[in-house]
Each structure stands twice: as structure tokens, then as C-alpha cells.
Symmetry: C2
Subunit: 213 residues, 2 copies
């Protein structure tokens, strides 16, 4: 069992990403971003709706940051959809023995990108089989994750169904990946969904590089 939690692919650690660039040049921008992003340590599978990336949490955060920073740096308005999942490998069903988890990792570390992002975030602690001794308490996990966001300075507000984040793109991504991995220290199966807005015409003047008034 121990070896499964140490193997990110066996444990089902991965992401799906959809990049949407609001420009006639979207094809070249997206292809250039994918080409520029460092996918060392990851398995990638590209589809027409999203790209799947499998590998450990730190590699995923690095790749997501590279990909989105590249798009943000063009100055074009873009939306990025990220799905994160760990603890439920396989497809329709979770192909993990009960009690295999949870998987504990050091908090993934991000970087400053110099680009402003706003985002809406949802976090789902799911399968408690394999969780540690503490009584499964999903609201406690959600509160801990929101505290992570507040400590990082990216928390804006709680809204219907999501938590609003904003700040440096790299710090927003780091908040989300770290919180997801952190909840995963107690809950085997955790997913998270994130919608990021880059270079939005709505972003307030005074925000970091790349924002428009």
C-alpha cells in the first residue's frame, strides 16, 4: 500500500487543463504555450477539450505556471480551466484498494510570475476510505484550504459555490495546488476545479502587469 501513495501515477495524481485565448491568433498562442511549458516528469495526453497531465504535485504546479504565464505574457485576454485530482486513478471507477491512502507530500512551491489573475475555485474532499484517524469532516478541510488562501494573500471572497481568488498568477496557482495537496494529507480522494481569468478587460487599473482598466 505504501508504494502506491509514493507513486503519483499509481495514486492518480494529475490535472486536466483547457486554455481559451480570446483572439483570432488562439491556435498559435496555445501551441506556443504548450511548447514552452516544461513537462519534465509528466505524462501528457492532448484531447480536443482538454490536455491531461499525470505526475507529482510539484511538477504539475510548475507546468501549469509555465503554460499560463506564457499565455498571460501575450497580453491577450484568456481563460484557463484547471481540474486537479488525486487518490482516484482509473476512469469511471476509482481503481485503488480501499485504505490505500492518503498520500502526503511537501507543500508544492510556486513562483511569482508578474502577471495578474483572478480566479474562482472549488475544492472537493471526496473519498474518506483511507483517510487518517480523524473523523472525516469535509467542512474542516474546506476551512483549512480557505485559511491557506488567506495566508497567501490571494483570498478575495466566498461566493455561491466557489471561493474568489486574485493576485499574482503564480501565487494563485500555488494556493490552489498546495491546498489540494494539503487536504489530501487527510482525505484520499480530493479534486479541485479552478477557472482563471487573465488580462480581463474587467480587471481594475492598478493590478499587476497584464491587467486592463
Amino acid at each position: 500500500m505504501e508504494s502506491i501513495t509514493r507513486d503519483p501515477l499509481a495514486f492518480g495524481v494529475g490535472a486536466r487543463v483547457t486554455l481559451s485565448v480570446m483572439s483570432d491568433r488562439y491556435v498559435e498562442v496555445i501551441l506556443a504555450a504548450v511548447d514552452a511549458a516544461d513537462s519534465t516528469g509528466l505524462i501528457l495526453e492532448t484531447g480536443d477539450v482538454s490536455t491531461y497531465a499525470g505526475g507529482d504535485e510539484q511538477a504539475l504546479l510548475r507546468w501549469l505556471t509555465d503554460l499560463t504565464q506564457h499565455v498571460a505574457a501575450t497580453g491577450l485576454h484568456a481563460s484557463v480551466q484547471v481540474l486537479l485530482s488525486r487518490g482516484c486513478p482509473g476512469e469511471a471507477i476509482c481503481e485503488l484498494p480501499g485504505g490505500a491512502g492518503p498520500r502526503r507530500v511537501d507543500a508544492p512551491r510556486g513562483r511569482h510570475t508578474g502577471s495578474f489573475a483572478s480566479a474562482e475555485w472549488a475544492l472537493y474532499p471526496l473519498e474518506d476510505i483511507g483517510s487518517d484517524e480523524r473523523t472525516p469532516d469535509h467542512m474542516r478541510e474546506i476551512y483549512a484550504a480557505i485559511d491557506t488562501a488567506k495566508a497567501s494573500g490571494t483570498f478575495v471572497a466566498s461566493e455561491h459555490f466557489v471561493t474568489k481568488l486574485s493576485g499574482d498568477l503564480g501565487r494563485v496557482l500555488e494556493t490552489v495546488v498546495a491546498a489540494w495537496a494539503g487536504v489530501g494529507a487527510h482525505v484520499q480522494h480530493v479534486t479541485s476545479h479552478l477557472t482563471v481569468s487573465l488580462n480581463s478587460p474587467s480587471h481594475a487599473a492598478g493590478a499587476e502587469t497584464g491587467a486592463h482598466a
Copy 2:
């Protein structure tokens, strides 16, 4: 308690939608789609990352179909992100008394749009407090939802973390909204996330109106 399950806003029935149009004309296209979509029976709140819509399942499906059909009809490549939630009103915490649910509704009915869509879908049965007598079994709910998709003809495959759907845009949306509401007949808190691709350059020749080879 009964009155809460009959009031969609009190029960937290709603959606968040992000439209991303991959064209220099994205502002006019998005504004026109929002303007054209029938929001009767819904409360809308627009933000820089997504628009929130609160109201019953049938009204949400109609509005989502109007919005996305309008975008699809332009022939422009676009991505649509949909988050659906019911059974957990409020923001950071679920402001519902334990045992308030579940909320049972007739299966929402969609319509044929004439536009082809491919999509990736995730469905999360969450809070079992308030579920009916059956032993909470999330995998049973997921399988039932997948069966709904197979019966509707929109099921393509199970992939890492998501179910792939494709077919008429209206039927894809109907599949997802109906499955979400259907799981909600047994589980109080259910969310679902959907990424839809419209007019993708990757869509195979021979697919319905709007696809590109």
C-alpha cells in the same frame, strides 16, 4: 423542511458559467449571447470570471442552452465552462439544516440545437445528510449518471477524472443537467462541472453543423 426543497434559491440550485470565444470579437459575441438568452425565472449576477445564475433546474437548462447555442451559431471556436450546484446554499458553508433534502424534480428537458459539441464532465455526489434511506453509495450514483448519458446517445468514453460526451449541444447539456438533478433525488448536495468545446478545429468532419474538419 419541505418548503426548502421546493424553493430552488433556498435550496441553493444554481450554476456558474464562463464563456470564452476564441476571436478578436469575443466581447460583442459574449454580450450578444447573454442578451439573447432567456433568463426568465433566474437571478443572474455577472462577475469577471463567471456569471452566476440561480433558479430551478429547467430554467437553468433553458438559459444554458440559449446562451451556448447563440455562441455556437456564430461558427467561432469557443469553450464554455459550467458549474452546477444544488443542496448547499450560501457561500463558504452549506446554510441548510441537516436533513433538509433531498430535492426531487422532474427530469429537466432540453432541446435539439443543430450545433455539435464535445465535452468533458465531472459529477460529484457530496453531502449525504438528508439523503434517503438507501445507504449512501456514490459510485452507484455515478454509474446511474453514466447510464443516463449512454441512453441519451451522448456518452463517448470514460477518461482520467471525467466522462467524455459529444453530440448535439442541446442534448449534451440536457444529459448533464438531468443526471445532476437525478442524483439529487438521492443525495442532498450534488455538484457537476462541464467543459464544452464548440466549433473546434479538431472536430471530425461529418459531425453536426458547426464542426470543422
